[in-house]
C-alpha cells in the first residue's frame, strides 16, 4: 500500500478512522472516507491522471469539482462507468479506476443496479446549498412554504466546505431544514436541467458512493422531476484560468481548488507553490496553503496595486510580485519551475525570474454559474467590473442569489440569499412571519482592490501552449487561426475549434475563450456574448434517465384474454403496436413456412380459428351517430339497417386512406365500428377531434370498447358446421344469416354477437363475447371443431389469406399517399354524399392522375419470394442512375392455395400495366415479375357463403 505523503497531519472533513483501499491505473492506494478520488490521488502525490486527447500532453487534476476538464477517469469496479471527473467521485473501498485519454468504455454486461424517478412539487426550489442557498432555503422554509434544497455535495456548505473554518450555522441550517416538515434537502443531487414553466430535473446519487457496499434495496440513482412555483439559483461561481505558455502542465491548478484540497481534504497539493492571480480571492488560498505548511514561493499578481489582501500576505512572509505575470512553466511531466516577468500595459518588461515550484495556482477571476439560468431562457449580461457574465432578465419565476449573480463576499451572499428566499416565498403566496435572522458572518474591513481582467499573457514564443480548453486541447493559437480565417461569432468559433464542446462543456474555458476572442478581434467581450448553455449541466447516465422503463417495463405490453391459451399451445408471437399477437402455431419440427402453409390449408379447406380480439372497437351512440359516420367514412353508413354490417374506409382531409374496418348497426342510434389493431387510439382521437372542434352540434358520443370484447374469427368452408353445433338457436343457413349480417345468440351457452364478416374470402364468422368468457368460447370451438381438424392460426396466415384476396392492410399496403381509388376501391367512395372528409381532395387534379401508384399483384418468375420494400423497375437492365422507380412491393408471401409466391405492390399506372413484365432488383439480380390485378384467389367471390 502506497503511503499518503501529501496528507496533512490533521484537519479536513475526512474520517481518518475509515481508511479505504483503492486502485488507480493498476497501483494500490489508500484514502479516507470523505475523500474524492482526486483528493486521495493528490494525497498519494499523483497529479497526472492521463494525457490529453488530441496532443497527448500530460494532464493533471486541475479543479476540485464538477468543472474538471482534465482528470476524467474510467471506473472499472465494482461496475464499469466511463468519463467521470475524479473530482466528483466519492472514494469508496474497492474502487478500481484508471485515467482516460479521451473516450471511456461502457460496460459490456447488463447493469445490475436499479434506477428510478420521483416527481415533486414545491413552492420554492433552491439550487445550491452554499451560503446563499442555505440562507434562501431557510428564509423560505420559515414562511411555511414547501421548500426543496438540492445540492450536489454530500453535506451543505458549498464553497464554505473549502475554507478553513466553516461556521456552525451551515450544518445547523441543514439540520433545521431536515427537521422542517415542509422542507426537503436533497444531498448528492445535481440539478442538471431547467425547462419551461419552472420544470427542473435533478439526478440524485443514492448509492454510487458506497461501491460494492451499496444495499441492493436502494436504487443507485434517482431522477427528480420538480415543478416549482419559484426557483432560487444559488449555483455559485467557477474560477477560471489565464492563458499563458504551459498552463496545462500537471501541477497547475485553480487556486480555490488547491484551497479546497488543503481545507476540506487535508491534502497538500504540492510542496512549494507559486500563485498567479488577477484578484483578491487567491490570497486566501496562498495563506491557507502557507498555514498548512506549503512553501508559498510568491504570489504573482497581475494588478499593479493589489490592495489589502497583498499586504496581509506580505505580513505572513509571502513575496508578492505586483504587476507581474507568469510567462511559462517547465518540468516533465509536472511543473518544476515557473517563469515570471513584469507586465506593464499588456507588455512584458524587465528580466525574467524563475521560481522552483511543483505547484502553480492560477486565478483568472470568477464566472458565475449561469448555466441553469440560461437554460431557463434567462439573458446574460457582461459585467465589465466583475469581468464576467451575470444573469440579467428571465421570464420564468426565478431569482439568482450569491456568487451566481456576482456577489462574492460571504456577508453579501448571506443577505442576498435570505432576501431571495424570502421574496420567492412571498411570490409563492407566503408571508415572512419572523424577521430575518441576523447573519453571523461579519464584514471584512480590509481594503479590497478590484480584479484585473487578464485573458492572455503575451507570448513572445507564440501561443501554441497557451491553452484555453484543456479537455479539447484548444489554444490561443487555434483561436487566432479561426479568427484569422474570418470567423467572428463565438458559436462559429466554438464549432470550428471545438472549444467548449467537450464532456465538461467548457465550464472552465467558456468565458476565457470569449475573452481571448474579444482580444483577438479587438472588440468588447460584451459584444461577443457566450455560447448557448443547454441541458444537461453535467453528464447524466442513460440508465438514470431510463429509470425503471427498461426491459419488460420499457413499453406496456397488451395481451388478449386468450393469451395464456396461445402460450400453452406453443404460439410464436409478433408485436402489433403494443399487442403481443400469435404469429403462428408451429407443431413439432415445423418451421414457420410449414406451419403457415398448414394453417392456410385448414382455413381454405376445412376450418380454422384465430384470436381477433385486438381489433380496435369503438361504440358510437346518439341520434346523430349515422350522420356523423357519414361524414367520417367515404361510403354511406346511415342507410345501414339494424342487424347489418358494412365495410368502410376513412380518409384524412387530404383524401388519403387513414383507416378501414367494419361498421355494425346495433340500433337506430348505435353503431359499433372496428379499426385496424394499431390504429385504434388514433381513430378514436380523430373522431373526437371532429366532433368537438367542427361538429359540436352533432349528438354523438364515442367510447373505446376494444378490451370490452373478445373476438374469435371462425373461418373456412366447414366453419358453419362448427357454429351450428354450438349455437342451436341460430339459423345458420346463408339465407337466414347472410353475409355482412350479425346476430345475437348463445354460442356454447355464452351470450355472443356473431358477425358474418370475412377477411379471407372464405365462409367466416366473427364471434364476440365478453372477455371473461373468451377462453370458454375458444375451448368450446376447439373441442367442437376437433373432428373437423379445426386449426388455430396466427397473424401470418391471416396476412396470406387476405393478400390472396387482394385486401390491403392500412399502414402496410398503404402509406400517407394512397387514396381509396389508388387501391382500386373506388366502389367504397360515395358519389351521392354531399361531403365527407377527403371528398374535396379526391377532386383535385393530382388525385385524378392516371399515373398514380396503384395497388396490383405481382407474380414473380421461378417462385422467388420477393422482399417487401423492394423497388420495381422497367427493363431487364438497370438504367444509369438515377434509375427510374415504378413502385415498390408492400406485401409478399408464399401461397399454398395458388401454389406459388406472389406479392402486392404499389405501381405507377399499375392497373394499365396488368400483363406487363417488370423487374425487381434484389442484390445483383433483376427478378422478372408479371403484373396482375390484385385479387388472385377466388376473384368471383364464390367461397364466401361456403
Amino acid at each position: 500500500m502506497t503511503p499518503q505523503p501529501f496528507r496533512l497531519p490533521d484537519g479536513g472533513r475526512i474520517s481518518r478512522g475509515a481508511p479505504l483501499a483503492f486502485r488507480f491505473d493498476g497501483v494500490a492506494y489508500q484514502g479516507y472516507r470523505g475523500d474524492t478520488l482526486a483528493s486521495a490521488l493528490l494525497a498519494a502525490g499523483v497529479h497526472q491522471t492521463s494525457t490529453s486527447v488530441r496532443l497527448g500532453r500530460p494532464r493533471g487534476i486541475f479543479t476540485a469539482g464538477v468543472e474538471e476538464p482534465n482528470a476524467i477517469v474510467q471506473i472499472e469496479a465494482p461496475f464499469p462507468e466511463p468519463m467521470l471527473p475524479a473530482t466528483t467521485v466519492e472514494l469508496y473501498d474497492g474502487l478500481v479506476a484508471g485515467g482516460l485519454p479521451g473516450q471511456g468504455r461502457l460496460a459490456t454486461e447488463p447493469d445490475p443496479a436499479r434506477y428510478d424517478a420521483r416527481y415533486a412539487h414545491c413552492d420554492v426550489l433552491v439550487v445550491g446549498a452554499g451560503p446563499a442557498g442555505l440562507a434562501a432555503a431557510a428564509a423560505a422554509a420559515r414562511t411555511g412554504a414547501r421548500v426543496i434544497l438540492a445540492d450536489d455535495q454530500p453535506e451543505p456548505g458549498g464553497s464554505l466546505l473549502g475554507t478553513a473554518e466553516i461556521p456552525d450555522w451551515a450544518a445547523e441550517t441543514g439540520s433545521e431544514l431536515d427537521a422542517a416538515s415542509e422542507a426537503r434537502v436533497l444531498r448528492r443531487t445535481m440539478v442538471f436541467g431547467y425547462y419551461d414553466d419552472n420544470y427542473l430535473l435533478a439526478a440524485e446519487r443514492r448509492t454510487n458512493h458506497l461501491g460494492s457496499q451499496a444495499p441492493s434495496r436502494l436504487s443507485r440513482e434517482r431522477i427528480w422531476h420538480i415543478r416549482a412555483r419559484q426557483v432560487v439559483l444559488a449555483t455559485g461561481a467557477h474560477e477560471r484560468s489565464v492563458a499563458f505558455a504551459g498552463n496545462d502542465r500537471p501541477g497547475v491548478m485553480l487556486a480555490a481548488a488547491a484551497r479546497t484540497y488543503v481545507n476540506r481534504y487535508a491534502v497538500a497539493p504540492g510542496r512549494r507553490a507559486v500563485v498567479f492571480t488577477t484578484g483578491d480571492s487567491a490570497y486566501c488560498a496562498a495563506l491557507d496553503l502557507a498555514a498548512a505548511g506549503v512553501d508559498v514561493a510568491a504570489v504573482v499578481d497581475a494588478r499593479p496595486e493589489p490592495g489589502g489582501a497583498a499586504e496581509r500576505a506580505a505580513r505572513a512572509g509571502i513575496e508578492v510580485l505586483a504587476g507581474h505575470a507568469v510567462t511559462g512553466t517547465s518540468g516533465e511531466p509536472r511543473v518544476a519551475s515557473v517563469a515570471v516577468r513584469a507586465l506593464c500595459a499588456a507588455e512584458l518588461t524587465g528580466p525574467a525570474r524563475e521560481f522552483a515550484a511543483d505547484l502553480l495556482l492560477v486565478s483568472g477571476g470568477w464566472n458565475p454559474v449561469a448555466h441553469l439560468f440560461s437554460q431557463a431562457g434567462g439573458q446574460l449580461r457582461y459585467d465589465a467590473g466583475l469581468g464576467a457574465f451575470v444573469p440579467d432578465g428571465c421570464r420564468q419565476a426565478v431569482r439568482v442569489a450569491g456568487a451566481a449573480r456576482g456577489v462574492f463576499d460571504l456577508p453579501g451572499c448571506l443577505a442576498d440569499g435570505a432576501e431571495a428566499g424570502r421574496r420567492a416565498a412571498e411570490d409563492a403566496g407566503f408571508t415572512a412571519a419572523r424577521p430575518l435572522p441576523p447573519t453571523s458572518a461579519a464584514g471584512s474591513a480590509e481594503r479590497s482592490a478590484p480584479s484585473a481582467h487578464l485573458w492572455v499573457v503575451p507570448g513572445p514564443d507564440g501561443f501554441g501552449t497557451h491553452f484555453v480548453d484543456l479537455q479539447r486541447d484548444v489554444t490561443v493559437a487555434d483561436l487566432a487561426r479561426a479568427t484569422g480565417a474570418g470567423l467572428r461569432s463565438v458559436e462559429h468559433l466554438k464549432r470550428y475549434t471545438t472549444a467548449g464542446t467537450a464532456h465538461d462543456q467548457g465550464k472552465t474555458s467558456g468565458v476565457l475563450t470569449s475573452g481571448v476572442i474579444a482580444q483577438l478581434l479587438g472588440v468588447e467581450v460584451a459584444e461577443l456574448g457566450t455560447t448557448t448553455f443547454r441541458p444537461p449541466y453535467t453528464p447524466v447516465s442513460f440508465a438514470a434517465l431510463a429509470g425503471r422503463n427498461r426491459g419488460v417495463l420499457h413499453d406496456p405490453v397488451r395481451v388478449t384474454a386468450l393469451h395464456d391459451w396461445h402460450l400453452a399451445h406453443g404460439a410464436r408471437f409478433e408485436n402489433v403496436g403494443q399487442w403481443h399477437r400469435p404469429w403462428y402455431y408451429p407443431r413439432d419440427g415445423e418451421d414457420m413456412a410449414a406451419a403457415v402453409a398448414r394453417e392456410c390449408r385448414a382455413a381454405r379447406e376445412g376450418v380454422a380459428f384465430m384470436d381477433a380480439s385486438t381489433l380496435g372497437k369503438i361504440d358510437v351512440q346518439g341520434p346523430d351517430a349515422g350522420d356523423f359516420l357519414d361524414r367520417l367514412y367515404t361510403n354511406m353508413i346511415s342507410t345501414l339497417r339494424v342487424g347489418m354490417i358494412r365495410y368502410g374506409v376513412m380518409c384524412r382531409a387530404d383524401g388519403m386512406v387513414f383507416d378501414d374496418g367494419t361498421v355494425i348497426r346495433l340500433a337506430e342510434d348505435r353503431f359499433l365500428l372496428t379499426t385496424t389493431t394499431g390504429n385504434a387510439a388514433a381513430v378514436l382521437d380523430w373522431m373526437e377531434e371532429w366532433l368537438q372542434t367542427e361538429w359540436p352540434d352533432l349528438r354523438a358520443h364515442c367510447t373505446s370498447v376494444t378490451e370490452q370484447w373478445a373476438t374469435v374469427a371462425l373461418v373456412g368452408p366447414r366453419s358453419r358446421e362448427v357454429l351450428a353445433g354450438l349455437a342451436p338457436q341460430l339459423a345458420v343457413d346463408a339465407c337466414s344469416f347472410p353475409f355482412m349480417a350479425w346476430r345475437e345468440t348463445a354460442v356454447a351457452g355464452i351470450p355472443a354477437r356473431v358477425c358474418r364478416i370475412s377477411f379471407s374470402g372464405e365462409l367466416a364468422y366473427e364471434i364476440n363475447v365478453l372477455p371473461w368468457y373468451a377462453t370458454a368460447l375458444w375451448e368450446a370451438l376447439y373441442e367442437a371443431g376437433r373432428p373437423l381438424g379445426i386449426t388455430p392460426y396466427g397473424t401470418e396466415t391471416m396476412h396470406v389469406l387476405r393478400a390472396e384476396k387482394g385486401y390491403p392492410i392500412v399502414g402496410q399496403d398503404t402509406d400517407g399517399t394512397v387514396t381509396p381509388q389508388d387501391l382500386g376501391m373506388g366502389w367504397v367512395v360515395s358519389k351521392k354524399k354531399r361531403d365527407f372528409i377527403g371528398k374535396r381532395s379526391h377532386l383535385r387534379a393530382d388525385t385524378g392522375r392516371a399515373d398514380r401508384k396503384q395497388l396490383v399483384a405481382l407474380l414473380p418468375q421461378d417462385d422467388v419470394l420477393l422482399p417487401e420494400g423492394a423497388q420495381l423497375v422497367a427493363g431487364d437492365r438497370l438504367a444509369d442512375p438515377p434509375v427510374p422507380m415504378l413502385g415498390h412491393i408492400t406485401s409478399s408471401y408464399r401461397s399454398v392455395a395458388l401454389g406459388r409466391t406472389f406479392a402486392l405492390a404499389l405501381v405507377r399506372s399499375g392497373r394499365e400495366r396488368v400483363g406487363e413484365r417488370l423487374y425487381v432488383p434484389v442484390g445483383e439480380e433483376l427478378i422478372p415479375v408479371t403484373v396482375t390485378g390484385p385479387v388472385l384467389y377466388d376473384p368471383e367471390g364464390a367461397r364466401r357463403d361456403g
Binding site: 425547462y195 419551461d196 414553466d197 419552472n198 420544470y199 415543478r227 431562457g377 421570464r395 382531409a653 387530404d654 382521437d685 373526437e688 377531434e689 368537438q692 372542434t693 367542427e694 359540436p696 361531403d835 371528398k839 374535396r840 381532395s841 377532386l843 383535385r844 387534379a845
Partner: protein, 92 residues
C-alpha cells in the same frame, strides 16, 4: 415541459396534451365550392409567427377535451386558454 392550464382541469404537464396546430382554421362550409388553390390553403397553409399564436390543444390524457391556447412561440408563454366556440381573446 410546459405547464398548460386546461380550461376544464387546470394546470397540467405538457405530457398530458396533444398538439393540434393552428386554431381557427374552420372546415370550409362547402369544400366543392372552393378552387384547388383555396382547398390547398385550407389543407396545407398555416401561419408561423414569432410571437402570439392561437393553437389547438387536446387534453388527451386527461379530460380529452379540445381547447384553444394562445402561445408566444418565442418564449413558450401561454397567454390565454379558451374553450372551443369561445372567441379568441384579445392579447395586448
Amino acid at each position: 415541459m410546459l405547464l398548460i392550464p386546461c380550461p376544464w382541469c387546470g394546470p397540467r404537464d405538457e405530457a398530458e396534451f396533444g398538439y393540434g396546430g393552428q386554431a381557427h382554421v374552420p372546415y370550409p362550409e362547402d369544400p366543392t365550392a372552393l378552387t384547388d388553390e383555396e382547398w390547398a390553403r385550407y389543407l396545407f397553409f398555416r401561419n408561423n409567427p414569432k410571437g402570439p399564436h392561437p393553437e389547438r390543444w387536446c387534453h388527451a390524457a386527461g379530460c380529452r377535451r379540445w381547447f384553444n391556447a394562445v402561445r408566444n412561440t418565442a418564449t413558450n408563454e401561454i397567454l390565454a386558454v379558451y374553450r372551443v366556440g369561445e372567441p379568441r381573446p384579445v392579447i395586448v
